[in-house]
């Protein structure tokens, strides 16, 4: 077993476990922490796919910013283990789990059936991407996708204004 393959399996198993913990933990703070771990592991998986810059961005944006916000809000509310953490009603719960399972089966089955024809070659990339894709990413972002980039700038402005307005609604700045 080569190191790369070992790394993939190691990361994949850890990712699935921590992903399941997000859903199964009854304490929301633990859910948030395991989601942060999932994000870090997905960043590591990005590295195995040669997207090193994106892996760094994943760490900074998701693990370092978005999840910090989630954890902070949970601590602010100080939510204890919930009595009704999961959906009530056995039938509807079983129905939901079943539908999710069917979806998983369909997707994985279709991937398995088409694995042979997927991209013709499924183990080696068609065009070998050089080790450093960061500069190419910058070039493509600032030529072909410039409009989307500027639009995202405007979106972020709107989010900054809107989120602050929402958070400060009802006049006061302190939680009651």
């Amino acid at each position: 077993m080569s190191p790369d393959v070992f790394l993939f399996w190691f990361l994949a198993i850890l990712t699935v476990i921590s992903g399941l913990m997000v859903v199964l933990m009854t304490n929301p703070v633990f859910s948030a922490l395991s989601l942060a771990m999932t994000m870090v592991l997905i960043g590591a998986l990005f590295v195995t796919l040669n997207a090193t810059f994106l892996a760094g961005v994943q760490l900074i944006v998701y693990a370092g910013a978005v999840m910090v916000l989630f954890v902070m809000v949970l601590m602010l509310f100080d939510l204890k283990n919930e009595i009704y953490a999961f959906t009530r009603g056995k039938i509807s719960g079983a129905f939901k789990v079943g539908s999710v399972g069917i979806l998983a089966g369909l997707v994985i089955g279709s991937i398995g059936l088409t694995a042979s024809t997927l991209l013709q070659s499924s183990t080696a990339p068609l065009v070998s991407m050089s080790g450093d894709t960061t500069k190419d990413l910058g070039k493509i972002l600032f030529s072909q996708y410039l409009l989307g980039f500027e639009a995202l700038g405007a979106l972020l402005l709107i989010v900054a204004v809107g989120a602050v307005a929402l958070a400060r609604s009802k006049g006061g700045t302190h939680a009651k």
Binding site: D4, V5, V23, A104, A115
Partner: protein, 115 residues
């Protein structure tokens, strides 16, 4: 057709890692996130599950980008990350506004907000 299958199918599922592996992993994570959205009652945990689904999609974008040799997938991931972060910021702002008013984050409670 059969000849190509022999030539290109990963000879060993465990020893050779390729695109299908990443896609299966991504779909597993997506389904986990979806189960979270359907089963959990806490609005914040539901939003976290949505983040998990978005991450799963990002993983498949990057995998396709790597195995197709196209960088567009990575640009897309960049955009998805931004949108996801924006969604988290606004969504949590809404939840905090509701919590401040009613002291409740259970999703059942939000049904009472109907006009």
């Amino acid at each position: 057709m059969r000849a190509r299958k022999v030539a290109h199918m990963p000879s060993n599922f465990i020893l050779e890692v390729g695109l299908p592996h990443y896609l299966v992993l991504s779909s597993l994570l997506f389904v986990t996130g979806m189960a979270g959205v359907l089963l959990r009652r806490n609005a914040i945990v539901m939003m976290m599950s949505i983040e998990l689904m978005l991450n799963a999609v990002n993983l498949s974008f990057v995998a396709f980008s790597r195995y197709l040799g196209l960088l567009e997938g990575q640009v897309m991931v960049f955009f998805v990350m931004t949108i996801a972060a924006a969604e988290a910021a606004v969504g949590l702002a809404l939840v905090v506004a509701i919590f401040k008013r009613f002291k409740e984050v259970n999703i059942r409670f939000f049904e009472h907000l109907k006009g």
